[in-house]
Amino acid sequence: MTRPLLEVRELRTYFSIGRGGFMRRKSVLKAVDGISFSIHEGEVLSLVGESGCGKSTVGRTLTQLETATAGTAMFDGRDILNLTHAEFRPLRRDIQMIFQDPFASLNPRLSIEQMLAEPLFIHRLVRDRSEARERIAATLELVGMDAKSMNRYPHEFSGGQRQRIGIARVMILTPRLVIADEPVSALDVSIQAQVLNLIKQLQRDSGVSMLFISHDLGAVRHISDRVAVMYRGALVETGEKRQIFETPRHAYTRKLLDSIPRLEKRIA
């Protein structure tokens, strides 16, 4: 097998709680405590675990929204954890993130066009506004939205539509790695499947690699190639999707799988 697109080694992200000082102990929260995994070109790796286990922090650290305490993350042969913010900026085009809550992730004061044009101009992918509008229109249609919606503002859209706009903001840059942080868990159940299918279809069509962070095992089963199970800041098990779902090795994975409500058994 070729070299993986992203190879994370012994990643640690600690947060200090409280400021410390006279008579006060500085305490440390080990959100991510030494995890290693790799993602190959065109592969979808799911990171699953209960809430609070640190899986979102992994995604935020890889996009430099949090600072890693230790470890390396080789992306295309470069350690992205060692870069300064300025050095990392050009790489942001390749490493994009879909956020969980589409109501919080879109700036209420910017029109959809302004929002989607911003990354295009930052990374100099277009020369002028008309070129940007063309590209925005094409991307909006790609995510199943009307191109005319670029003139509107976030509050005019539903949750599902907003998440499609969030996905458009990511896909417009044609990234190489997408970090999807619980991309459907904030949506209505009826919309979840639609958006999940869209993500899967876009991933297949573009061949982008993806780190899919979720606690929803149904979604994980649907979308991933491989699965990594995280518990209290560490990985307990990594494997092919089939292996994880059918012959889980670790006790925690079995517990997690048992927590899925099973409907099919009773029907069959």
């Binding site: 969980q100 809550d101 919080a104 004061r109 911003e118």
Partner: protein
């Protein structure tokens, strides 16, 4: 939300605020059209009609130099608007910048906000007095001093809001898109501060009037010859028993204007941000 707020919505079913707005419009018209509206020169002495009663041709009477009170009051509207808008401009720009930068850059914030805290420890009038004694009496200095006094409260408010906004996910999203600090601050955070700052502006405008009148009254504000409502009060205060109208008219104008601006500010605030309803926004 393409327009931050709609004027019609602010004043609908708010009779008091509408009244306030009307009064402010009158003051505005008086300020703009002062040379046309004023029946006399506000600076011209007329020793033969000193301290005359309100009546024809001096509707508001005359002061102890024989200057026409109505004309001085109309020109005073000019000063009121000038001082109000000047202080608002300085307070919002200086306070807004300090607040935003302090919240965004944590280390800088530790330094700047401590300075703001020290300035805020003084009562507003005392701080203005201290600064005015250091400076010459002039319109510009008065505006600057009042602007600085209210820049501190503005900085506090903007600091708090920026602190909250910079943790919002859309800021993370902007950073992930590759936005630089300047772009995050001015393109993503600032537009979300506009409405609350507009409300703040209306209160600063009102309080600047009071502050300026107080400085004038204490003889530290505008130069004495400048026709302002505060100066009219200050110069004629010894004639309060002989010619009380000389104090009643400018006093009423100050009260009415401050009250109107507060009413408008309240309406704006309730309309924009229900969270502020029971808070007096730091002023």
């Amino acid at each position: 939300m393409s327009v931050p707020l709609s004027i019609a919505l602010v004043f609908r079913r708010r009779a008091l605020a509408t009244f306030g707005m009307c009064w402010l419009l009158i003051v505005g018209i008086a300020a703009i059209g002062a040379p046309l509206l004023a029946p006399f020169d506000p600076l011209e002495f007329d020793p033969f009609v000193r301290l005359s009663d309100p009546g024809w041709p001096h509707l508001f009477g005359t002061d102890h130099f024989g200057r026409d009170s109505l004309s001085r009051a109309i020109y005073g509207a000019r000063m009121a608007i000038l001082i109000g808008s000047g202080s608002v401009l300085i307070a919002l720009v200086a306070g807004g910048l300090i607040g935003m930068l302090s919240a965004y850059f944590v280390r800088l914030g530790h330094l700047l906000m401590r300075i703001v805290d020290v300035l805020m420890a003084f009562p507003a009038l005392l701080l203005a007095l201290v600064l005015m004694t250091l400076l010459e009496r002039s319109v510009l200095n008065t505006v600057i001093v009042i602007g600085i006094v209210y820049a501190t409260t503005t900085a506090r408010i903007v600091f708090g809001m920026t602190l909250k906004l910079k943790r919002d996910v859309f800021v993370d999203a902007a950073i992930c898109s590759g936005a630089r600090h300047a772009s995050v601050l001015f393109r993503h955070i600032l537009p979300n501060l506009v409405s609350p700052m507009l409300v703040q502006a209306s209160f600063i405008f009102a309080f600047a009037q009071l502050q300026a009148a107080a400085l004038d009254f204490l003889g530290l504000g505008l130069p004495p010859e400048v026709p302002s409502w505060g100066n009219m009060l200050s110069e004629e205060r010894i004639y309060v028993t002989r010619a009380p109208w000389l104090l009643i008219f400018p006093g009423a104008l100050i009260i009415l204007s401050v009250f109107s601006m507060n009413l408008v500010g309240d309406a704006l605030r309730d309309n924009i941000d229900p969270r502020f309803k029971n808070d007096i926004a730091g002023v």
